[in-house]
Amino acid sequence: MRHLDEYRDPDAAARLVAALSAAATRPWTLMEVCGGQTHTLVAGGVDRLLPAGVEMVHGPGCPVCVTPVETIERALAIARRPGVVFCSFGDMLRVPGVTTDLLAVRAAGADVRVVWSPLDAVAVAERTPDREVVFFGVGFETTAPAVAMAVWRAAQLRLRNVSVLVSHVLVPPAMEAVLSDPGNRVQAFLAAGHVCTVMGWREYEPIAARHRVPIVVTGFEPVDLLQGVLMAVRALEAGRSGVENQYRRVVTRDGNPAARRLVAEVFEVTDRAWRGLGVLPASGLRLAPAYAAFDAERRFDVGRLEVAEPAGCRAGEVLTGRLRPPACEAFGTRCTPEHPMGAPMVSSEGACAAYHRGGRTR
């Protein structure tokens, strides 16, 4: 397909690898923030092409993985209610709560539906006015504009039977948390290109300046990633920090102002707990007061929730690049994609699943 195949070309990849070998005179440690990039790198084997010494560690950019257990438990409690239609992106269905997941709740009779777009949930609410439709609003700056539009639309249509369980998170505070960790080894970032289609990269400029790191906005195909790594390594070798853009075909410095405007109208920034990372200040979105009527947390009182993380899962260390998945004792034994113990083994963007899919045991 156009705008994909060109960036999967093995000859272009080989040229970039050769250039990278020539450019890297010292060991460097880079972090790709986004779980989609982790999958291309690890499951696709792109990281094996990198010259020795250029190491990729994997960041917290897996929305499924960082959604706290408490939020999963809240989703399960709401989905179990009679009369509720619970709509979600497909990859949330197998994320383990304390004892169960949405898929099991559906098998036990709850009306849990996978939707492609948040607007599909609004359409269900329009068609079935006698049911309470709840959408599970998770994800980074890439999905927030879609959920914002769904809420705006529900408000325009004056729908009273639709609400959103909001657990949106923002990328820059997570990068800040990684760089501020005393044990941090990350010397440069590949920023998630798709988040930047919305946000642009202005927010990364102060981070790059404060921590003196190169940040390269990077796409998702193998050639994009290799080019992003090459740009980051050249910046490191030259002692340059600042933001560069590999993903010029879809990302501009200002991102998408129309999308940002509706996100700012429907949501407000809030502190949010990240699975494995704890509460990060100003790291998430919740509904703005004008849209509070659509807040599923207000609409459904679910009482006290359990918040215990699954015992033995080291997702927190994996999500901050401190632990490679195969180094977790449960990896591939007690924890597999068929029987995941933690979210990073479930998601198509989780690092543990990427290593498992790529057959990596080391």
Binding site: V64, L119, V223
Partner: protein, 86 residues
Amino acid sequence: MCLGVPGQVLSVTTDALGVPSGRVSFGGIVKEVCLAYVPEAAVGDWVLVHVGFALARVDEAEAARTLAALREEGAADAGERAPGAP
């Protein structure tokens, strides 16, 4: 869910709320996509789509420049590895 996919706009309409949407082809699979955030998108354009929403129009000129830079990378690299180079 952060996986964006490029697709080509086949048709554009506007709904009762004034929001543009369109039929977008992903290598032959056609889906309805909200175009509210890329109102400039026209039939034939390529857009990057996430969870049913186009978030950016693919800039053909920039794409061509990136691919040209990749070809030059090969040439530059051949230069770096020329006999006599360190």
